[in-house]
């Protein structure tokens, strides 16, 4: 019962901070709210007994990626004067497009219903031993392909970052 209350509380926090990311005027505040959103999501992982995912989520997203975001935004020195002004037609078309998306979402989700989980929830599934065995057993190929993808992205970033290629 108490986990259900915690779930609702965390969901409320995640949605509220997610909204604050979009609504806050200052980009630095947006980044900090996004970090709080990640913490709320990490709380959900802990509720699912997936501590490894929670810790890695914090390390990778909040500890590394958002720090880099903050870094760039601080150096860009964004403020009211440098903010590009969008014209009225652009805003209007954005509103129409978003409204259409809402209609499509409502239409497609109208007949959706809750399906019961086919497998019973196994509380040990998120523990690091089981996760490691699954990743290096059943999903070995996708795991290795993902590592290649990351390596490619890294080499690409280094190449782009270089001023001149000899």
């Amino acid at each position: 019962m108490i986990t259900q209350y915690i779930f609702y509380f965390l969901s409320f926090l995640a949605i509220m901070f997610g909204l604050m990311v979009v609504l806050s005027k200052n980009p630095i505040h947006s980044v900090l709210y996004l970090v709080l959103t990640f913490f709320a999501i990490a709380g959900h992982y802990v509720l699912l007994n997936a501590q490894f995912l929670a810790a890695v989520h914090i390390i990778v997203y909040a500890g590394a990626i958002m720090v880099l975001f903050l870094f760039v935004i601080m150096l860009l020195n964004l403020n009211k004067e440098t903010e590009p002004h969008k014209n009225v037609w652009l805003k209007l078309s954005a509103a129409v497009a978003a409204g259409l998306l809402l209609v499509v979402m409502v239409g497609s989700l109208k007949n959706a219903e809750m399906i019961a989980a086919t497998n019973a929830f196994d509380p040990s599934v998120g523990l690091i031993e089981n996760l490691g065995k699954t990743l290096f057993g059943e999903f070995l190929l996708p795991f290795e392909v993902a590592s290649l993808l990351l390596l490619g992205a890294m080499v690409g970033a280094v190449l782009l970052g270089k001023k001149s290629i000899k």
Binding site: I28, Q51, F52, I128
Partner: protein, 349 residues
């Protein structure tokens, strides 16, 4: 164990760890001055109390009494949030460190670790990675070029050295086979200290710990010759005190982590021959751990007052071009050694 007993025992443990952390950090400031004085052939603080032993108290009173200044152009909330976050992340780490073996009172077991997370090492690492926010937010909210530069230096330095630190921990986890701090400490009974198994990883970890705590020779974020005071230029009173104090807490926690990971934690070789009472052993274990921690705190200070500061490009070169390749090499060697039987079979077949 009854719930009330459990609750009281955990509350006492948390309070004790918190109080000891603050006490050690307070007296580290005194030790730092005395050691600096010793290394520079001076006397050091000797006015407040015998041998200047009350100096930290005098410093604290001074910090509290000073005028509180918040720059009018800065972002007030973030300006206050910066030092608070620095202090919070510094204090969070003590939770997973095993301070000693279990005490047995009335047949009930009282572990001297606040909580034994099965991902303790990762928890530690995630808290360390959050530590950069306090400095960055403080540096940015000051609305001062020197503070911003200090904050950005600190964050890029911490991100760079986190990578090498993480890789050195991976090699350690490969040999210990667990992410629980309690088990890592328990595996090192007798002479099975991890420093003998992972000498290179230990060296890399210690260097990265210096960089993560912003201590000399890596104290570029507060390099006073270039940046006035770095990220805490605009801070005064106890907010400045929090930033400085967080550094000493980080130093204490880093020393505890280095001792636990690589130098046996609460274990001492041969002690089991003379002492057989488990409670006595547990208490002696805490004493041994604190002896090791004191040595590493002294080592931090010794290095600070011996080595000059790095240049920024040298710092980045050391991090990215030396420490990261070395720690990857360490992982490869560790993997090869632990798979030696299979590899030999493969080549002799």
């Amino acid at each position: 164990m009854a719930f009330t007993t459990y609750f009281i025992y955990k509350a006492i443990l948390v309070l004790a760890v918190f109080a000891i952390t603050l006490l050690v950090a307070t007296y580290s400031t005194y030790a730092e001055r005395k050691i600096a004085a010793f290394l520079q052939d001076r006397v050091g603080p000797d006015r407040a109390g015998p041998f200047g032993i009350l100096q930290p108290l005098a410093d604290a009173v001074k910090m509290f009494m000073k005028e509180e200044m918040i720059p009018s152009v800065s972002n007030k909330w973030l300006f206050i949030l910066g030092p608070s976050l620095a202090m919070l992340t510094a204090c969070l780490t003590g939770v997973v460190i095993p301070w000693g073996k279990s005490l047995f009172i009335d047949g009930q077991e009282f572990s001297l670790q606040i909580t034994d997370l099965n991902i303790g090492v990762l928890y530690l690492f995630s808290v360390v990675s959050m530590g950069v926010y306090g400095i960055m937010i403080g540096g940015w909210a000051s609305n001062n070029k020197y503070s911003l530069l200090g904050g950005i230096r600190a964050s890029s330095q911490m991100i760079s050295y986190e990578v090498a630190m993480g890789l050195s921990i991976i090699a350690l986890v490969m040999t210990t086979g667990t992410l629980s701090m309690k088990e890592i400490a328990a595996q090192q009974h007798g002479w099975h200290w991890n420093v003998l198994v992972q000498p290179l990883g230990c060296l890399i970890f210690i260097i990265c710990a210096f960089a993560e705590t912003n201590r000399a020779p890596f104290d570029l974020p507060e390099c006073e010759t270039e940046l006035v005071g770095g990220y805490h230029t605009e801070y005064s009173s106890m907010k400045l005190g929090f930033f400085l104090f967080a550094e000493y807490i980080n130093m204490f926690i880093s020393s505890a982590v280095i001792s636990t990971f690589y130098f046996g934690g609460y274990n001492m070789p041969f002690i089991g021959r003379w002492v057989h009472d488990p409670n006595m052993l547990a208490i002696l274990g805490v004493v041994f751990l604190f002896v090791k921690i004191s040595f590493f705190i002294f080592f931090f200070m010794w290095v600070r007052w011996t080595l000059p500061r790095f240049r920024y490009d040298q710092l980045m070169n050391l991090g990215w071009k030396i420490l990261i390749p070395l720690s990857i090499l360490n992982i490869v060697i560790t993997g090869a050694v632990s798979m030696r039987v299979e590899i030999l079979e493969f080549f002799t077949k």
